[in-house]
């Protein structure tokens, strides 16, 4: 920390050498008559042909950066200080005409929702051709150029796609069309704002590969904005970590993620479950506290209130940018100590007695013992479960599975694979087809939750994906959590109050939260309320339907820890649905892989991850970008999941299977589930020994999000 290592800002080369140069940028939003700083002193450069990643949680100001660059800030926002230079041009001092020109020629943007970037009433071909027409081509030439551009984004049948309207395209296809439009003018700078967040992992992998390839071809500089650290690690040469409007750390992506030098980056990386971490042996680290409220008046380091390394100095004066080495900066006085940041949550699994938070007789008349007493068999059994919507859409086709008492069954698959339908059938929210058998502890479950006895309702609960939707915004936290206690556990009066106290303590809420409404809580707190409601009446089985996908990384870790702890104390059984394989691996004991409503693979978690894998499972694994930036040899799925109304013949996966046999058997015959070792089954015609051999030679084992 010598004086030489301090720099007031990263040294800025002459702007003309840079595709983008941002220095000391402040952005202010005026809210209710008060100015609130959304970005403070943000400086970074992107060289020509370079790919720069901005990573941060929600509220960090990532998108504000993107909007400010091309002056798309909403009317209450303005750049209050700093300069921006794009390819030598200065958008901040431009007139409207020049600005339009800049947006048309020099900068292109791709946003999260492709559906909103395309005009729904104009054919896709027309929209892309328009870009070329503005460039001066005749309409015939423009259509030809558009077709060529679509071919470049690997759309196999561009002629037909051009005739379609945006709503007729799948999400991945629409995003390709948007990328085609964005690259049509060979922009100097391409801004991608969460371009794959709305897409499935397999489609995301394809789109990311495409962007990487096109970047080379067009020699475009890229500003890649994402909350997903692994995606940034995969896509970017350099990265900047944004927190509450300040750039805390920047440097080469590989170096920053392998050896972070700011406590925030360190904490963020520790929140992500890594390979080898399991709920039985590890708890994830968390970042305590909350993002400062917009318009805060903190003196000193902005991260100090949440930082375990913070000392008096941090709270007195804002740290400058320290040069960690020639190419890295960190805005921390103690950046050398950052890797040794003390954990906020102990790694060891806490010693929690079973029902430690329960106490005696609190489940009231419905003491859970009645349901699961002394059975060795599986708690939930599903046999021949089918669900057909509208007469021909088979969302589930003959699913067999079982869930053991106290285990977590992970359910994975792309959207459209039937995961949520399966959960809804189990809960009684969707009635299965005739002949399907669903039993809980040996007793068949009725198809409709409204007709299920209270005891069954008590036993099966759910934590939904989005707490904003799952919690009635008109009820207080107290009302939301008390309801299951009075309805299902039959509690009232002081017993209800006692149980409520225990419950909120067990999900780490406080008394002061009870009179609040959901809109007054943060996302993580809301999800805790939803979890408390689900656990209120001591359920046997809790369905967790993507319980953390609406949450930030640092919040996600705390919720996962909570679910793991609650499973231990309440001996609950989980059906855990997630698209994030790292989370599934951390939390699950067994895994079921669904594709088009059929079980493709089932087995103990570590066995499924170790392989041999079903080719579909293999593709899911290889679609997940890994944080270490290594690129394992992998298989890619092409195209999207087929329609369940018209599933392929034979093996339903054969249309996308990269390992399809040439004998034609895959097209004609549906394979049975082959047992690899006890409990591990794979639905594939390829002999398991061959699969193992193929996968060993061609791919690196899955890294589990680490």
């Amino acid at each position: 920390m010598s004086a030489e290592s301090m720099a007031s800002a990263p040294a800025a080369p002459a702007p003309a050498d840079q595709a983008l140069s941002v220095s000391h940028l402040d952005v202010t939003y005026r809210v209710r008559g008060q100015d609130r700083l959304a970005l403070r002193d943000v400086s970074f450069q992107i060289s020509r042909g370079e790919s720069y990643g901005l990573v941060g949680e929600s509220g960090s100001g990532k998108s504000t950066v993107a909007l400010a660059l091309v002056r798309y800030l909403p009317s209450n926002g303005r750049v209050s200080a700093g300069t921006i230079s794009i390819d030598g041009l200065e958008p901040l001092s431009m007139g409207q005409g020049a600005l339009r020109d800049l947006r048309a020629r020099t900068v292109s943007m791709v946003y999260q929702e492709p559906g909103r970037a395309l005009n729904p009433s104009i054919r896709v071909g027309r929209q892309i051709a328009e870009v070329f027409e503005i460039a001066g081509q005749s309409s015939g030439d423009a259509m030809a150029s558009a077709e060529q551009m679509l071919r470049k984004v690997q759309i196999s049948d561009p002629g037909r796609v051009m005739q379609r309207y945006p709503h007729q395209l799948s999400g991945g296809m629409a995003q390709r069309a948007v990328i085609a439009m964005a690259l049509a003018r060979s922009p100097t700078l391409l801004i991608l704002d969460e371009p794959t967040t709305a897409l499935d992992a397999t489609v995301e992998a394809e789109v990311l590969d495409l962007v990487a390839a096109l970047r080379q071809e067009f020699d475009t500089s890229v500003l890649f904005i994402s909350h997903n650290l692994a995606v940034i690690a995969k896509m970017c040469d350099r990265v900047g970590v944004l927190y509450a409007g300040e750039l805390l750390e920047q440097g080469p992506a590989r170096a920053v993620f392998e050896n972070p030098r700011h406590p925030y980056t360190v904490g963020l990386l520790r929140c992500i479950p890594r390979r080898g971490q399991r709920k039985d042996s590890d708890r994830l680290d968390t970042i305590p506290g909350f993002l400062p409220t917009p318009g805060h008046t903190l003196t000193g380091c902005i991260f100090a209130p949440r930082c375990a390394l913070a000392r008096d100095r941090c709270r007195q004066a804002e740290p400058p940018f320290f040069l960690v080495d020639e190419v890295r900066t960190s805005r921390c006085y103690f950046h050398e100590e950052a890797p040794d940041l003390p954990r906020a949550t102990p790694a060891a699994v806490p010693e929690l007695a079973h029902n430690g938070i329960g106490g005696a007789g609190l489940a009231g008349g419905a003491d859970g013992a009645g349901l699961v007493a002394g059975t060795d068999g599986p708690l939930v059994v599903v046999e021949g479960l089918s669900k057909t919507f509208g007469g021909n859409v088979r969302a589930l086709a003959g699913v067999d599975l079982s869930i053991q008492q106290g285990e977590t069954l992970g359910l994975v698959g792309e959207s459209g694979s039937g995961k949520t339908t399966l959960a809804r059938v189990l809960l009684g929210l969707t009635a299965p087809d005739e002949g399907s058998v669903v039993t809980l502890d040996g007793k068949p479950l009725g198809p409709d939750a409204r007709r299920r006895p209270r005891e069954i309702l008590r036993a099966l609960q759910i934590v939904f994906q989005n707490p904003d939707s799952a919690l009635n915004r008109r009820h207080t936290v107290r009302a939301l959590i008390s309801r299951p206690l009075s309805r299902l556990a039959g509690l009232s009066g002081s017993r209800l109050r006692d149980r409520l106290e225990e419950l909120i303590a067990s999900v780490r809420l406080e008394d002061r939260h009870l009179p609040l409404r959901p809109s007054q809580l943060s996302g993580g707190l809301k999800q805790r309320v939803a979890i408390a409601r689900a656990f209120g009446a001591r359920p046997e089985v809790v369905v967790c339907d993507e319980p953390t996908s609406a949450l930030d990384v640092s919040v996600q870790a705390a919720i996962l820890n909570l679910l793991a702890d609650l499973q231990q104390t309440e001996r609950a059984t989980y059906l855990f649905i997630s698209h994030d394989l790292g989370l599934v691996r951390y939390l699950s004991d067994r895994i079921v892989v669904l594709y088009l409503g059929r079980v493709m693979e089932v087995g103990p978690s570590e066995t499924v991850f170790a392989g041999p894998h079903h080719p579909y499972t293999e593709a899911l694994f290889s679609a997940v970008p890994s944080l270490d930036g290594q690129r394992p040899a992998r298989i890619r799925l092409t195209g999207e999941i087929p329609s369940a109304a018209d599933p392929p013949t034979g093996c339903v996966f054969h249309t996308r299977c990269p390992r399809k046999l040439t004998t034609g058997i895959c097209e004609s015959t549906e394979p049975p589930l082959h047992e690899d070792e006890p409990g591990h089954q794979i639905r594939c015609h390829i002999p398991l020994a061959d699969l193992r051999e193929l996968q060993r030679s061609q791919s690196v084992p899955f890294q589990g999000g680490s």
Binding site: L427, L429, A470, T476, Q520
Partner: protein, 317 residues
């Protein structure tokens, strides 16, 4: 001038115009910002209502409404003349210092009749709107939540009622039961029921797809609890806006019925009835007999709409 007055030959205002207006507004209301507004409009935040007090439109609207409410209650006390006293010697006199708004063909003071004419319209309008809102909310909740066959059948019935001109329905009732305040109130309330039901149904459809509905079902809540305790509080803001807008249309409806002779009966002072009685004198140049009652109607509608507008904007902010 005649533009401000409903023409007897035209089908009268509410029925044909409303559906579009109500659809537009509903569409805008239930957009993402609308949903956020509803989320923020919790009972625990009286700050919302303080925001309302900061709006000029609200104050102007409230001022107009208050003025007419005072006229309705105390008008007979401070009107310069008795609204019923005839003086044929002073018939059809233009505005003057003695009669600011002139006199009608029977020599009655127009100003006094405008002031006291506020009474029945201000009794019927809120009662009819409340009746329509209660019935419409119940029907809309049931249609939106129960869906299926009930929604299909009730939906067709609602459309059938909406297809009938308001005047025809009113005419049937009034002929059968005779024109009286309760009859007019009930008729207008019933005519508004399907309109409000449709708005409520749309709002309920959005709510029904929220996860808190299946969550309630998994707690064993019955349908009426889900409808009234879970969904209803979330659609109340939409209902409130619908109520205030509907109140404005109710003023029109009452005036229209009176104008057509199905409403308040002469000689009781009433704006619609007075316009009907006197528009025949317009070609002779007796404009004041029509203009001032018409302005009274217009100002009352404007006042109510301004309040509705302010409420809607506060909820959306």
């Amino acid at each position: 001038m005649s533009g401000a007055v409903p023409q007897p030959t035209e089908p009268v205002v509410p029925a044909p115009v409303d559906p579009v207006a109500s659809l537009d507004r509903t569409g805008g209301y239930l957009g993402p910002t609308g949903a956020a507004a509803v989320a923020a409009a919790g009972r625990a935040t009286p700050a919302r209502w303080r925001l309302l007090l900061r709006r000029t439109t609200f104050w102007v609207g409230a001022g107009i409404l208050l003025f007419w409410v005072v006229c309705a209650i105390f008008g007979y006390l401070f009107a310069p003349y008795s609204p019923l006293t005839q003086n044929l010697l002073l018939a059809n006199i233009g505005p003057s210092s003695a009669h600011w708004f002139g006199t009608d063909p029977l020599g009655r003071d127009v100003l006094s009749r405008v002031i006291t004419g506020a009474r029945y319209i201000l009794i019927i309008t809120p009662l009819a709107t409340i009746l329509g809102t209660i019935l419409g909310t119940a029907l809309g909740l049931a249609m939106g939540y129960l869906g299926g066959a009930f929604d299909a059948v009730a939906g067709r019935l609602v459309e059938a009622v909406l297809a009938l001109p308001f005047v025809i329905i009113a005419f049937m009732f009034v002929v059968a039961l005779g024109p009286s305040v309760p009859v007019i109130t009930v008729v207008i309330g019933l005519v508004f029921t399907p309109l409000i039901a449709r708005t409520v149904r749309t709002a309920v459809l959005v709510e029904r797809h929220m996860d808190y509905v299946p969550a309630a079902r998994l707690l064993g809540e019955n349908s009426s609890r889900v409808m009234f305790a879970e969904i209803l509080p979330n659609v109340l803001p939409a209902i409130l806006v619908e109520f205030t807008v509907r109140l404005g249309y109710a003023v029109f409806a009452v005036a229209t019925l009176s104008f057509l002779g199905f409403g308040i009966q002469p000689p009781t002072p009433d704006w619609g009835a007075d316009i009907a009685a006197n528009y025949i004198g317009l070609p002779a140049g007796y404009w004041w007999q029509v203009l001032f009652p018409a302005l009274a109607i217009a100002s009352l509608v404007t006042g109510v709409i301004l309040i509705a507008d302010a409420i809607e904007q506060v909820l959306a902010s």
